[in-house]
């Protein structure tokens, strides 16, 4: 019961993180600076400092909750996957956990690169880190969703 509640919380944090990092990615990739008040302008008009803090906190919260419910996955989900010969599903989850760990190591640098005083000098690095974190967040969310559809926690 607690594991299911934590899994739902893990998913909700994932949705929120997905929204935050995608806002930031689209905002970075969009070069158009003139604002017309359209939906796209509003979508990309993010307060970068606030979003950076939100992304870091949400990422760490999602990672910690994922680490807490990991034993449930190992005992109640992965073993049935192996019995069903769903090696690809086990592989997808393994990649999800490894990517999440590697992504966590980028958070201090990501946070530093979004500081106003290094905005000019670290533009390319900021772009690369944000896109990479965005990829990891999307990957982890989609894989988690697919695997939960095959077999969720009990």
């Amino acid at each position: 019961m607690i594991a299911t509640a934590l899994l739902i919380l893990h998913g909700l944090i994932g949705v929120t993180l997905l929204g935050a990092i995608t806002h930031q990615m689209v905002s970075l990739l969009r070069r158009h600076t003139a604002r017309s008040g359209s939906f796209i302008d509003r979508y990309t008009g993010v307060t970068q400092k606030t979003f950076t803090v939100a992304v870091v906190l949400l990422y760490m919260a999602g990672l910690l909750i994922g680490a807490v419910i990991y034993p449930n996955y190992r005992l109640n989900v992965r073993i049935p996957f192996e019995e069903m010969r769903l090696g690809w599903a086990v592989g997808l989850f393994e990649l999800k956990e490894h990517f999440a760990g590697i992504g966590a190591s980028l958070l201090p640098l990501y946070s530093y690169c979004w500081k106003a005083e290094v905005a000019q000098s670290h533009h390319r690095q900021r772009l690369a880190l944000t896109l990479l974190l965005g990829f990891i967040v999307w990957w982890d969310f989609l894989v988690g969703h697919i695997l939960n559809n095959i077999r969720g926690l009990e």
């Binding site: 073993i79 090696g87 990649l95 490894h98 640098l109 690095q125």
Partner: protein
């Protein structure tokens, strides 16, 4: 006495290199056995304890090495190219993981 400055670039590079190496060498700091809540140092399997989780041990080892490196090697000591390409180390570590896990997708 001033506190040592933390180098985020050094941390990211050291973490990614350590993580990929430790994963490739199957050398986590410890294994966790969730069935009975047992911990064991290193990668030695504990027979009869059920399935093991290595990820906590991988993360812990990479984090310890990266934190030590980030406190000892300030970012300014890294070359400019290295400073600007920390994200490439993360991509490389991810590709190492994909390569090492390929048997799961091929069978």
């Amino acid at each position: 006495m001033t506190a040592p400055r933390f180098g985020p670039t050094t941390f990211a590079i050291a973490f990614c290199c350590t993580y990929a190496t430790v994963f490739a060498m199957n050398s986590p700091l410890f294994l966790y056995y969730p069935l009975h809540g047992d911990f064991r140092w290193g990668a030695q399997p504990l027979h009869g304890a059920g399935p093991a989780i290595a990820w906590y041990g991988l993360m812990a080892k990479a984090a310890i090495v990266a934190t030590a490196a980030a406190l000892c090697v300030p970012d300014r000591l890294l070359g400019r190219v290295l400073r600007n390409s920390a994200w490439l180390f993360a991509v490389a570590a991810m590709l190492v993981c994909v390569f090492l896990l390929r048997p799961l997708f091929l069978h």
